[in-house]
Symmetry: C2
Subunit: 372 residues, 2 copies
């Protein structure tokens, strides 16, 4: 903020709000933000009914939590961000001539919210924060790594349940019920939190596309199912993907599974501090290309704190041109999702970058699971 001469930062990403203040509730469907001034305490703005309960989760004092009136919710003629702008002026956090940065590409900071904030601060320049706090979140603290390890344990249990639950004749929704119960139960020591994305298990031809959710159709023998899910603990999300087939895989699928396992091994071995995301991606890409496989989408992304609808941190992706160098303490979901024409295969590993290579957050076989 000092480098950019910012008078204040309007943080709208729920995970960034949590990171800075501890605030945690399913309240992000109405406007809310944490305003971080250049000096002094941050101020949380939320709907009045949510502000009342904010003290349960945040370290902020009650003077630094402000609730906007209920009539501003879904109101055609005014907007909570106009009210927030007024309060920023009244509190002296922002004055004419200031430069303020806001999370312009964050989920839940709507275009109308931005326009209302700008209208309420006519003498202030509002620029894009360029996800400033998300970038700060990139390298995890020891506390954060502990939460991620617990979330990894929960992810592994949920995946074990999933791989055991996929059986021909069962409805997809019944498999999901088993998975979601395992995600919430967690472990005897650590209960699960809600993952940022529901379990996805596209099956058969639908496995050729990544984000279709389940139906109540029955699973069929011989059709591969890709399972992508996360374990979550105190809002830290650890995603995990595997593929399972009831019956014998055809040669194409069996071959892809072997190639992808090899690509994963070489890619993980390349993840050492100092190597760029571009270089790491190139290692995986080379293995796939040598085997005649094409993958156009990224091979991974940074993970940590997350809220629906995404468990990615919106910073570093493992893809061509990404010149960020890896550092110890970064965490990635490395995912080799092969979405082909009418079929698919997925294998992923959630990992922490350490001085000596990667630490895996889950321990599961990297093979295609075949149910006989």
């Amino acid at each position: 903020m000092a480098q950019r001469s910012l008078a204040a930062l309007v943080v709208a990403d729920p995970a960034s709000i949590n990171y800075l203040s501890g605030y945690n509730a399913w309240s992000f469907y109405t406007p809310q933000c944490l305003v971080v001034p250049a000096a002094g305490s941050p101020v949380l703005f939320a709907r009045a009914m949510d502000a009342a309960g904010a003290t349960f989760t945040t370290w902020l004092g009650t003077d630094d939590v402000e609730g906007y009136p209920e009539e501003l919710v879904h109101n055609e003629t005014t907007h909570p961000y106009l009210w927030i702008a007024g309060r920023l002026r009244e509190r002296g956090l922002v004055t004419d001539g200031d430069v303020v940065a806001a999370d312009l590409d964050a989920h839940f900071f709507s275009a109308r919210g931005y326009l209302a904030l700008a209208a309420g601060l006519p003498g202030v320049r509002i620029e894009d924060s360029r996800a400033l706090v998300n970038w700060v979140r990139l390298v995890k603290s020891p506390y954060e790594l502990d939460q991620l390890r617990i979330a990894g344990t929960i992810a592994q249990r949920a995946m074990e349940v999933a791989l055991a639950a996929v059986r021909p004749g069962r409805r997809q929704c019944d498999v999901v019920a088993d998975i979601m119960a395992a995600q919430a139960v967690g472990t005897p020591e650590h209960g699960g939190d809600y993952p940022s994305i529901v379990p996805m298990l596209p099956t058969g031809r639908r496995a050729g596309t990544p984000h279709l959710t389940w139906s109540d159709e029955r699973l069929r023998a011989g059709e591969a199912t890709t399972v992508e899910l996360a374990g979550a603990y105190r809002r830290y999300n650890v995603p995990l993907a595997r593929t399972v087939i009831p019956g014998r895989p055809d040669r194409r699928l069996a071959h892809t599974a072997l190639v992808v396992r090899d690509a994963m091994a070489q890619l993980l071995a390349a993840m050492v501090p100092g190597r760029t995301a571009h270089e790491v991606h190139a290692v995986g890409q080379a293995v796939l290309a040598d085997a005649g496989l094409v993958k156009e989408s990224r091979m991974g992304y940074s993970i940590g704190l997350g809220y629906p609808p995404d468990w990615g941190e919106h910073t570093v992706s493992l893809r061509p041109g990404e010149q960020v160098a890896l550092q110890a303490g970064m965490c990635f979901h490395v995912i080799l999702g092969m979405w082909m024409d009418g079929w698919g295969y997925e294998l992923s590993e959630p990992v922490v970058v350490t001085a000596g290579g990667v630490e895996r957050l889950t321990r599961l076989t990297q093979n295609l699971t075949i149910i006989r």
Copy 2:
């Protein structure tokens, strides 16, 4: 659109996209929109990997589904909406001098997305759609009412499971596991879809605030828990709230439960076509006020198709000043949430407005559930 002389409508609300095109996937965490021109077929824009699978759920032809390149995702220097703007020009859907309306207050249409769209269409005026499609969705078709009735059945089962699962000594997360499994299983005939909000069961002092999610703490005898959850079927959400206490309620809680039940009965009786949302709210408010209870937040809102993070339609609320008149086919979640200082009580009814009064979508006792 004709009344407002719109050349095109940029629909960004995932529920409105589904309503118009059938498109359904967990893809809304990257930019996507359905562009409806004044004449001709709508065009769906999504990330390339999602566009490939769109045909599984939408009736649109493959020519009318466009995927933007992967490198535009979380890219600091360009944005998918700049690419979309270019395609709108190239397809001849928008030309200089046109007026285009966009869902400026929709979740997932970010400020940066709006600015990129505007930058890519410099000769075009972009105005707020004012949630145009959401308002069209307000009155449900017979098909939609059928989906809502199924979702209501699932909500009722999930609540029955929840009320049986709340027992002193159990971890909150284990109760949630039971609820989420019931939500996904649905009924033998109809599997459950994912609700737009996770189950919420604030307990004890936390029940004084509405949107705190669960932890792995254990439930305690004598502490009331408010349970708010939904049943979902094919993206139609039916929310439901009840309160349960293991042990004997104090006089204050028992009294509130009786008053709220009475307020609910009178409010539902007032929900007839022609009556305004303001008038309906006033009926409920009067019953509470006569008993010395104060509730500042709205008493209900329109429901139907929903995606995370909200199951409300962002149109009509039951609150002071809301002059929309009820019509047959509107659906509401009528919720009397009493969030007091250190305790809380909730009772809700999801209902359809009909010519002869309301049809309840669930059938459960409206009393406080007391576990002995």
